[in-house]
Symmetry: C3
């Protein structure tokens, strides 16, 4: 069994979806593992990981808008307000989505559906640098 | 280490929960791996995977109803409307739940709680054929 | 490849977050596996697993409060009411969060961000004993 670790860093500029599928595939294609598991974790609690449709950008717009309305940026609703009006909603959105993705590799191909892309879902308003740990193991 | 890949196909007939626990176990019981990991991914972005109570069917009814009210099928709320009033809500429900399940096998037994079943949660109104990739690895 | 199984049992006293990071790390530090995967599953459908900020306790307060308002304990909203007003909301909150966490271990260190802790999110009002299966495999 082989194991390889890697980090992908993304600079985000406000709330929304950041497609990192290509970055992950570019790295994956250089690895020697034919079949195995890729475990991706985001090492932050105010941004998250989502697999979603990569075809119509309106889907991502509507997703962002839905979460914006579901979890209002209104300091009166929260006790944790010291880090800005967007921080507590960011933690809540993080819990409602995912910290991690566990994907399968078969015959050197990442098993994703035709319309599936890998996205970082940024919940903060300001610029952030986000680290996504990649852990590949298999044979 | 051994690795085995498998696909389970489910035909869905409208929104709701489809129990695939037996299909997964029937396949798993034929495999030679004693201890390991089973990674299940749904290769679609408008249906999802959920572990929930398999005892009282009212639980599944109430779950479906809760998500129906939380994410209304109302085209006025969304920009992405070309695929029908149920498509954008389907993507949102998919993000609120899971694309994947990573389960452990110990002594040839899938580690689930007494009341836990594996469900496909279909979010579209029409009939669909859904593919669930199964990837088992261990020894 | 080595595989080790372990169970962590937590006694909960009502709704809220229970940090089990230390229990997991204490066990992990005794294992001989240097690099690998830790798969944690909660074997219940009315409590869940969450990775969240371990710094300001107000974050956990606001999270609990958000889910309490999003999923009301009001029997009129549900058909499944025989197990108490908190049971159906517990199942819904479980689906909105996670049954499981899949984490990476690199050089004997669990890969978590600086501010990330592992929490059981209890959704029931009464005392419960919750079992978290831990499955470590690697080399």
């Amino acid at each position: 069994m082989k194991q390889v670790f890697h980090e992908i860093t993304l600079k985000t500029k406000g709330q929304g979806f950041y497609d990192f599928t290509k970055k992950t595939l570019d790295w994956l294609n250089k690895q020697e593992i034919k079949n195995g598991i890729l475990n991706i974790n985001i090492l932050h609690t105010s941004a998250s990981l989502v697999i979603q449709e990569n075809a119509d950008p309106d889907v991502l717009h509507d997703l962002k808008n839905f979460f914006h309305k579901l979890v209002p940026m209104d300091n009166k609703l929260y006790k944790h307000t010291t880090e800005g009006k967007d921080d507590m909603p960011a933690h809540i959105k993080s819990v409602l989505t995912n910290n991690q993705l566990t994907l399968s590799i078969k015959n050197k191909k990442l098993m994703l559906g035709t319309w599936q892309g890998l996205y970082l879902f940024e919940h903060r308003l300001e610029q952030h640098t986000r680290t996504l740990s990649h852990h590949l193991f298999g044979e």
